[in-house]
Every structure is written in structure tokens, then in C-alpha cells.
Amino acid sequence: MRRRTLLAAAAGGLVALIGAGVGVWSQVPVIPERPAPDAGAALGWIAHRNGRYTLTLPRAEMGQNIATALKQVACAELGADWDAIDVVLHATEMSRVKATVGSESVMLFAEPLAQACAALRDALAAGQATGLVTVTLRPVSELRALRAGGLIGTSPEIVQGREIVTGAPLYAADVRLPGMLYGRVLRAPASVEVASRPRQWSLDAARAVPGFVAVVEECGPPIGQSQGLGIVASRPAALDAIAEALQLDWDMAGPHPRSDIARAIDIEARLAEGKLPHVVMDDAPEDGPWDIDLRLDIPMAAHGPIEPRAAVAKWQDGSLTVWAGTQDAFYIRDFLSHAFALRAGAVTVQSCRIGGAFGGKTICTVEAEAAALTIATGAPVKVQWTRAQEYALGFHRPPSSHRIRARLSKGRITDWDHSQISAHIMFTSAVVPPWMQRGTDMFAGDGGVARGMAAPYVLGRARAAYDMVRLPVHTGPWRGLGAGPNALAIESAIDDAALAAGVDPLAFRLAHIADPLLAGVLTRVAEIASWERPLAPISGLRLGRGIACGTYKDTSHAAAVADVAVDATGLVRVTRLWCAHDCGLVINPDQVRAQCEGNLVWSLGMVLTDDLPTADGHVTAQTFADAPIPRMTEVPPITVDLIQSNRPPLGAGETAIVAGPGAIANAIRAATGRRLTRFPVRPGDLTA
């Protein structure tokens, strides 16, 4: 444990310099545990008292509205009134559940919850009023919640919807505690992958700022190699004035050897160095000239949730309580126990509704800052990152550089070769240190980079291989992981192949698809979009229609059609989007549609806006103006059609992102004759 100086009350208010020297932090990361959910554990999620039920949500709620879907499952299985079930978000006092990632919440949690609810229902019917219930697993076919009918397949008012529209407190930053202070940890304007630490600062100037409480040197573990300096104030905006008054100087190592990120992520340069070590498909294509040879470059992108991550921490009598908007409260607890050398039982993390996560709120950052500052000051502390901190200190979708080559014979693809260089996703550099990553690189590759690289088509002799480099900016999971970028590359190449073969892109795809479910969504989207219908010309605009499809995590399927209009300056407007989606049994159709709509807006962003600018190995974006996200005027009407299915319920949170970007890029190709090869599109790329 590190030295610690507790806050002393000084004349004229609380003034303190807390901590001296910088602690030595463990170099061994805490890796998330990911237990599979089962019905026994699920009993801890549902309880009955005095005629009412409490459903303790085993998932993080971040806008997928899983609270509503799982309440439907519980309600249907229990045979309870909708209003008789209270839904609460979990704290770490519950037994561990795995992180809310990968579109698994309905797929993996609906059945165990239904099993537990069925057991509880039968126990209540048998007259048991107290104690624990034993779950005897029954066939899925006997579960009322896993077949259409009743509440299943309907869309009741969303759980917490009333709180959202009335502004009731739900999110981590909404937590207010008596005596609460506001904190921030300042870090050097440098790559998080090079060592940096505060060198000197003007404490007297900071002290003079109204609202100043403390400067805290012991401000928690570094982010990457970036050691910070904590500041604490009695009012939030005083933090800005204190940060300025400090006139902080930094010790910064560097530069990072891969400060030029575009050079590090260049597939031609990488292939010139030798073979790619990680193989997804390994059927060797034949030598010879290629009909399609397409290179695509997709940049780094931020998650861009409107909620900058936030945490409130309270240190009292040797116990730490943290309110967090996190996709993995248990990981936060374990991380904090480890970092601050506390017994696991001394740390409690309460999940709050998350104001958008998209894969980005899976690690422990702001929670550790708040914890360090409450431990140092003895007062509860709220920390919410600034937007600039979100960009500089978060992890991001890695850039990727793709080369796809294909050979055709008689209108069919006979050979396919997809090469990719990217940066780590599953083994994110935000958690996994370089020495450990060398091991994962060697033995495991990175399933996140690989996700979706096995194209869902019959492609003859097909190879797909990739490699990763560790970048100066942290990279990690972003909605769909590699699936969105890989599908954008694949669907662009397939479209070019259709064009080269002289075959309609819908017919060409159908001719290369073996899975009838994938063919099903493709056929359906063509129907609802009237694929065959020619576009009515508009003077001064180049119009185009594109189609694409894909399969996510081998289970759910989506297909999309996009219409675009491109003006003479090259400005692209997406004018219409359609999507057909098959994720098995649908518990809540309106919210599955909402996920599809969200994925299509993200698809539009992938083609038109997503880019996170960097220079000299660190992120330069400060505001949404530097890293724009789609705006209302850019988003067209969207039509979503859900396939009725007898399959079990599957994932919906990331599926349509495998279809939307390709459909839009292919529509632009149809409108302009130009294949986009670097993203996002710049107007100069498409001038008439």
C-alpha cells in the first residue's frame, strides 16, 4: 500500500496537498472473469416478497433496453402482472455475471432467467413463501417465455422510460451525496503508451481559485503509462480554473516508435514485410492475375457516447462504494480491490444506467480516479471526464487497412484473398500490457480483429489472414468489433465482383450464399426496398442504390439497401435505408427495430463521418466538432423488417452494422462510378 496523507482542515477552508511521491502500481492487469450464466445463478436475479417481485437485472442497461426485454421474460414465465415486477440494476453484492458485451443479453440470459422464474412460479403455487427455491431444469419447449405469445413479441413501455422523459436520476453522474466534491485527474498531452508524469505545478495559484480543495498526487493507477495529478474542488467548473492555474509541466518520454499511425496501418507495407500470421480461412488461392484487387483503409473511430464516463466514489470506514456507468461492475470491483489493496468485500460497485457505451465502457478508468480521490480526501468524489479526456484517454476502434483480391470464372468467384492489418481489439492495449500482448499475439491472435473476416459466401479457394500492431493510442472493442470494418471491405469487394461479372449485385450475392437464413434477409430487404424499381432522376444529383448483407457471430443475419444522392461537389446524402433482420425469436420487436435503426445510423457514420484525428501518436480531437457523429439532418427515413423465426432468441445489438456500411458504399459506387477506398468519404473524392 502506498503512503497516504489524509486531508487536513486548514484555516479558510479545506486546503491540502495530498500524497507525496507516486505509488508503484502493479504491472499485472486484472483480467475480466466471464462466467456463463446458468439457471441456478439466475435465481439470484428474481425474488418474491409480499406479493411483489424484484428482478435484479443481470445485465448493464445502456440503451439496448434489456431491462424491458428481461422483464417481459420474467413476467411471461411467472405469469405476473407487469406492474408487480420491480426492476433494479445490479450491484456487485449479487453473484458475478459476465460483462454486458457481444449482443449476448437475450441470447444467453433469457433462458436461465425463464428457468428460474418457472421454478419460482411453481414454488409459489405449491405454497412456499420464504426460503430458497431449487431449479429443476425443464425443456425449453415448456418455458412460456421462450415462445411467441402473450408478452413475448410485444413492446410494452420501456423500463425507465418514464424516468428518462421526466429527467429522474438514473446515470452515474446523477448521484449526489452529502459533502460530495468534484475531482479530475490531469494527464500529459501525449500518447498514453509513453511514460509521462507531472513534473511541476503552481500550487499557490491553484489554491487561489475559489472552490479549490486539494491537489492529489496519489491519484490512482496510470492510464497506460500516463501518471496523472489529481485535483479536487467544491464545484465542478472550478476544476477547469484550477487546471489552468496549476500551469502544469510534464515529464514526457517519447516519441512513440509508431507515432505515424497511418504508416503503421498500411496493408501494402505490411505484406511487403512478409506473411500475415493469423489465419481465418486457409484455402490457398491459385496463382495468377486477379479480377478484383481492392485496398480499403478505415480510420480510427471514437465510440462517441453522449455521456462522458462518470463515477462517484465514497470511502468510509475502510469500505469503498462506487456508482458507475459500466458494462462490467464486477471487473470494476476486482480492479479497484487490486489497485487499492482492498479486500474484495470492501468494495461495492453499483451499476447505473449507461449513457451510451458501445463497447467503450468495459474497463476501469474514471472509477479508479474517483476512488483514489475519495480515499485521499475522505469525502465522496464525483469524476466525469471531459469530452477531450474521452478522446485522449479512452480506447477506440482501431484503424484497419484491407486488401481483397478475387478471381472470377463464369460469373462465380473462384478465388478470394483478404489481408488485413489493424490493432488489438479483444486483447485491448487499454488493459493488456505489451509483454502480455506478445503472448496473446503469438498464441491467440485477436478474435476481435478477426470477427467477420470469414466472408459469409461460398468463395472457392478462400484465404483470409491478418496481423495487429500495438499503436500509441489505445484500441479496443467498438460496436461489432472487427465485424463492421471487415464487412464494409468484403461487401465492397463483392459488389465490385458483381460488377465485373456483369451480374446484378443481389443475384450475384444470392448465387454465392449457402445459408438460407442469410439468403432470406437479402431477399426480404430487396422486396421491401423494391430493389428492381429504378430511381427517378433528380436534376443536378447523381443517384444510386446499393445492397449488402452479412452474418454476425455465426448466428444473426441482416441485409440492407441504401439510396444515396451525390451532388456535383461530392456531398453525399443517404436518402433512404431499409433493413431486414433475423435474430431468432424476437422478445420485443420495437426494441429490436431500435437496435437495427441505431446500427444503420452507425453504418452511415462509418461511411460519412467516423474519424478520430491524431498527430504525433496522440489524439488531437477535443470536441464533437473534431470527431463528428451523424446528425439528424444526415439521417434518412429507415424501414426495418424483422423475420419471424422459430430459432431461439439471438443477438441484435450489433448485427445490422455488418450490412449498412456496405449498402451505403455500394450505393455511392452506383451513383458515381467510384469505389470508396478510404473512409470517411471526403467531398473531394466524389466531385462530378
Partner: protein, 151 residues
Amino acid sequence: MLFTLNGESRDIPADWADEPLLFLLSEAFGLTGSKFGCGVGICGACTVIIDGAAARACITRASDVDGLSVRTIEGLATGDVLHPVQQAWLDLGVPQCGYCQAGQIMAAVALLEQVPDPTPDDIDGAMDGNLCRCGTYPRIRAAISRAAEQA
């Protein structure tokens, strides 16, 4: 310094006068519906209505509302009866994560008070400065149209 907050007269504490209005509302008064998203008036998550017009609480100094009337999301409903815009939001299942939605709703309310029967262009024009990363824009458009029809 006094201002009107959701119809009631409130004092602006001297030590909060230089804070952004957003933090006066959310931290000093506990009205946490208005959200911090960017701090520079770009995203709209902090949108409130000041003297009838949508305004960004994150770039409005608390002392600047001295003598003015401020309305926030917490002041829209009458008891348990939701404002028509709030009701339309619920009926059409607009929110995903929900974080931007208080700002969206306040921008929509300000629009409908000025333009009770907005065209699609009016809606897009008024709402374009309110960002939503979840992508709820098509539903926001539909909810505003529905609220306009039912008003």
C-alpha cells in the same frame, strides 16, 4: 440574484454564480435531468428553455439567468400527467440510452411552442444541434410530429 426555475423563484447562491447554469441546476439544485455531454454547446444534452427559447445550459453562466425564467425537463409534467412531447416519446419508444433525451425533449418543446405545426424541415432545422449517438433521430422526428398532432 433571483431567477424563475420551473415556475418558482429561486436564489442563485453567490458561490455558484460563475458556474455554468448546467451545474447550478444539476449539482446545486439536484435537477439532474439536464446532462453534461460536451461542455461547449455542441451536443445539446444540456438544453433547457430560457425565456421561451432553447438554450445550452453548459455555456450559460448561472449569473446570466438573473431575472430570467428557466424551464427544465423536471418542470414539464403536471403531476403524473406527462407533457404531450414526453408522452409521444414514451409512446414511440424513442429513448435508447436516454442520456441526450432530456435535451432533445426540451428542444422539441421549444420548437413546438414557437411553431405548433412544424414541417419536416422545421423539425430537422430545430433539432440538428442535438446529437444522439444511439441513432434515435427517426423516432425523434416521429414523436415531434405526433406531439404536434395531439396538441
